[in-house]
Amino acid sequence: MMGEVPFTLDFSRVGLTERALVGGKVASLGELLRHGCRVPPGFAVTSFGYRRFLEANGLEDRLRQVLASVVPNDLESLERASQQITGMFLESRIPREVQGAIERGYEELSVRAQLPDPPVAVRSSALAEDSEQASFAGQQETYLWVRGTENVLDSVRRCWASAFTPRALSYRLTQGVSLDDGVAVGVQQMVHPRAAGVLFTLSPRTGDRSLIVVEGSWGPGVAVVSGEVTPDEFTVNKVTLEIVHRKISPKTAQFVPTGSEGLLVKVPVPEDLQTKPCLSDEEVVELARLARHLEQVYGFPLDIEWAVAENEAFPHNLYLLQSRPETVWSRRPRTSIAANFKDPLSYVVQTLAGKALSR
């Protein structure tokens, strides 16, 4: 990155190379944008912004003092330290230059959305190499449906503090992970989803890599992820992009955001919508096309969160919210199915004699 290190960075300006500055989650969103996917617009509050916050409030020394007193395996001590740090963070002011950058970023989102105080998701974006472990360590706080500058700033501060939850502290202390490597935060416009869910670039049932399986339900994806609703399932042939199977389930409930805090409330789905597919065929196919493209770019199977925006026209209504490596099937060792292949004839013989087949 040229020039001075910025306090905030638009998603469109980051990729995996900016990971140390914006964290893994935001970096991968930037990467999705670079590969031509639609991602809800947003910006990162960089780890540099976080450090400026610490410096301006003289928090670094105080942090060290608190942490020095922590007994790694003593829960009570961890909790006490966590509370102290959270208190310190929430009392501290965000320095004007950082606050200004965040306000400008939020204003830009407002202009793009043509909406005053657009709802955003504010989430921490871990800098650690292994974001899965980071997730375990509780460093991935998320605040959804946040509206207004004050609330955004407050959520950013809370995300910074979330690096010091008892669990995160324990993890960092026991794993010997540096305590001052910083925290990045993503501020991203919320999509008003008509439907949302997840997709895998292989069959979760059998690991078949020639399929893409899309699961979705009405409203935000939490319905699918949390297992509150049996989602619709669309199976797409990855090679031909034909939908080979549709399983439409009765989707009896969905979540809707309420009030300015954006709490999600579960409500019943109108009866006529319950058994209606939550995605059109063209939406399913377009999602599959995007997923296939990303998998080719990344070179490994993916697990992707997606949403279809309520009031936008196809294909501009399709958004990817997150992309991760698929872990269940991909972790299995690659085995050759034709390890004993000599020539077609002997393979024919083996198959017919039942030897080539494990089943």
């Binding site: 078949d208 399929l211 034909e242």
Partner: protein, 608 residues
């Protein structure tokens, strides 16, 4: 174990339709279910082979099946020694053909057979394109020899020439030998037919299993699209019809082609003008051999060839003429299909995980594409060209019997089994040589009359898709690939009441989703009833029905697997197909609106 096995109705529990008592006397003893083999027969699976015998089988027509299953047995079990499979057993029940694959149970025997198979089939696989080319020539020679068989008129006295040539034998011997040659010919052609087909299925089955291992949920359809033969002889007859439609417009005789017109009168009318005669000359050119295409699969004598009964395709020809006049293209998109095949193949290949797998994929596919081409292409030569000539040859013999007062009609001969024809012929020749009356003219007519009545009644019987005991595994490659018989499919047939009430499941044989009114066709003579925009529902879709595919929006069948030609034709015409539903013709009625999902392999009944 036996008591746990899933069972269909026993063949011994199947009722004789009212008025059909005594139907068994139409078939030889060895082709009937019988008390003395009951236990063995009940413990086997028998499935209805509606693919090759969509109707009750006339006594004479059993010859095609006897020759066919002799050929299968010879090639699979004795010649090439397909490791897990012996031949396919068969029986007639209420006139319908039921077949049962015979497996090799003993692992040691499978092992021994594998060694023989490797050496024997390997010889063919390694030389396949050349051998197939030679095979085609061999079949053409057989057809020439078949055509040369003559049943000479029995004269009052022999021609003098016979005496002076000192041949030493007369016309009675010639007729006798001609019948033997006819029998020898059909039994030989069906061995030759199976010479390439059985090991062809074995190779194809291997690629299928490889794909299923690499991509556990891959559809059968995706596999066939990778190996699909692009331009085989089975499409040529239809292409010739299109050519003739274009010629009709070019020659300015298109106004003759009105679908409501009688085909014979139309041809006569064409013969009265120069342009019309030019067109008829073109028809004759196309006819030999391309219109030896019959309307079935060659096993029923009354599925006439187009050359004998142009009425079968006249309606389609008229459609084509109308399309040419409207400026519509009749061309099949061969290049597009080739591109589609290459893209799909490349797509799956790229998804394989290791270099080794890609090597196996490439080499198996190379073999299978060669083999599969023959499996698609061979059909025209034997099932159509040869069989059409054969049935007409039988008619020539039938005509001799008519002249000698045995039968009233040439077609009566088909009510006798070929071994009975043998007896009748001896009766006839004895009587002619001796100069004393034959018994045949009084013996056969009442039998034929009764059998004609029986065939009419048996026709209405709707055969259950399977009988007997479901096996743990189906190991015969041909049975899996051609008929689509797998333990899963059999279980689905067994539990129709558990299945969703309004949904039938089958093989997703050709992609696409359409809705429309159904047209249930139970036999080939109902084919002309099919209207533009309907969905064809039939026991089995014959590949030779290809022309009707230009009218329909989708097709659904009771029987048919991924290798069935109907699937290929449906894809060729780009219409959805769901095959092997087991019961479509029973559960769907003409006019009922249905939805055919050729991607998912489902048929939904949209109306009660």
């Amino acid at each position: 174990m036996m008591s746990d096995a899933l069972r269909f109705q026993s063949p011994f529990e199947v009722q004789t339709p009212p008025g059909c008592e005594g139907w068994t006397e139409m078939y030889p003893y060895y082709l009937l279910f019988s008390e003395d083999r009951r236990q063995e027969e009940e413990n086997k699976l028998w499935f209805y082979n509606g693919m090759h015998a969509p109707e009750a089988v006339h006594p004479f027509d059993t010859i095609g099946f006897e020759a066919g299953y002799l050929g299968i047995g010879e090639m699979s079990s004795r010649m090439f020694c397909i490791p897990p499979a012996l031949g396919i057993d068969f029986r007639f029940l209420n006139g319908r053909l039921y077949i049962s694959p015979t497996a090799v149970g003993d692992p040691k025997k499978i092992e021994e057979r594998a060694k023989l198979f490797e050496r024997r089939a390997g010889y063919y696989f390694q030389n396949w394109p050349q051998f197939y080319e030679e095979w085609r020539e061999k079949v053409k020679r057989e057809i020439e020899q078949l055509k040369a068989i003559r049943f000479p008129e029995l004269p009052e006295v022999e021609d003098e020439q016979l005496v002076f040539e000192r041949k030493g034998y007369g016309t009675s011997q010639e007729v006798f030998e001609a019948y033997h040659r006819l029998l020898e010919s059909i039994f030989r052609i069906w061995q030759i037919h199976m010479e390439i087909v059985m090991i062809g299925f074995a190779a194809y089955f291997t690629f299928y299993e490889f794909c299923k291992k690499a991509f556990p949920e891959i559809s059968d359809q995706a596999i066939t699209r990778m190996v699909g033969a692009i331009d085989v002889s089975m499409f040529r007859p239809n292409d010739e019809l299109k050519r003739l439609a274009k010629r009709a417009v070019e020659l300015g005789v298109d106004s003759y082609f009105r679908p409501e017109a009688n085909v014979r009168e139309t041809f006569e009318a064409l013969g009265r003008s120069e342009a019309g005669r030019a067109w008829l000359e073109e028809w004759r050119r196309s006819s030999d051999p391309w219109f030896y295409m019959n309307t079935g699969d060659g096993f029923h004598h009354h599925h006439r060839a187009w050359v004998d009964d142009p009425g079968a395709v006249f309606g389609i020809l008229c459609d084509y003429v109308a399309k040419v006049k409207r400026g519509e293209s009749l061309e099949r998109d061969i290049e597009g299909r080739r591109r589609d095949r290459d893209q799909i193949t490349e797509g799956y290949r790229a998804l394989l995980q290791t270099e080794e797998d890609r090597k196996a994929f490439d080499e198996l596919l190379g073999l299978v594409r060669n083999v599969y081409y023959s499996i698609e292409d061979h059909k025209f030569y034997v099932e159509h060209w040869y069989q059409s000539v054969f049935w007409n040859k039988v008619r020539e013999l039938g005509a001799l019997f008519v002249r000698q007062g045995f039968f009233q009609d040439v077609e009566d001969i088909f009510y006798l089994h070929w071994s009975e024809v043998h007896q009748a012929l001896m009766d006839l020749l004895l009587s002619w040589t001796i100069g004393a009356p034959a018994r045949g003219p009084v013996y056969w007519p009442p039998i034929i009359a009764r059998r004609r009545e029986l065939m009419g009644k048996l026709r209405a019987w709707n055969p259950p898709p399977a009988l007997g005991t479901v096996p743990e595994a189906v190991v015969d490659p041909a049975v899996v690939m051609l008929w689509g018989i797998t333990p899963d499919r059999l279980r689905a047939w067994l539990e129709p009441e558990k299945a969703e009430e309004k949904v039938l499941r089958g093989f997703a044989a050709s992609p696409g989703v359409v809705e429309g009114p159904a047209r249930v066709v139970l036999s080939v003579d109902q084919l002309h009833e099919v209207q533009e925009g309907e969905i064809l529902v039939c026991s089995v879709t014959e590949p030779s029905w290809a022309p009707v595919f230009s009218r329909i929006r989708a097709t659904v069948s009771d029987i048919g697997g991924m290798m069935s030609h109907a699937a290929i034709v449906a894809r060729e015409y780009g219409i959805p197909a769901v095959l092997g539903t087991g019961s479509a013709t029973k559960r769907i009625r003409t006019g009922q609106r249905i939805r055919v999902d050729g991607d998912a392999g489902t048929v939904t009944l949209l109306e009660d």
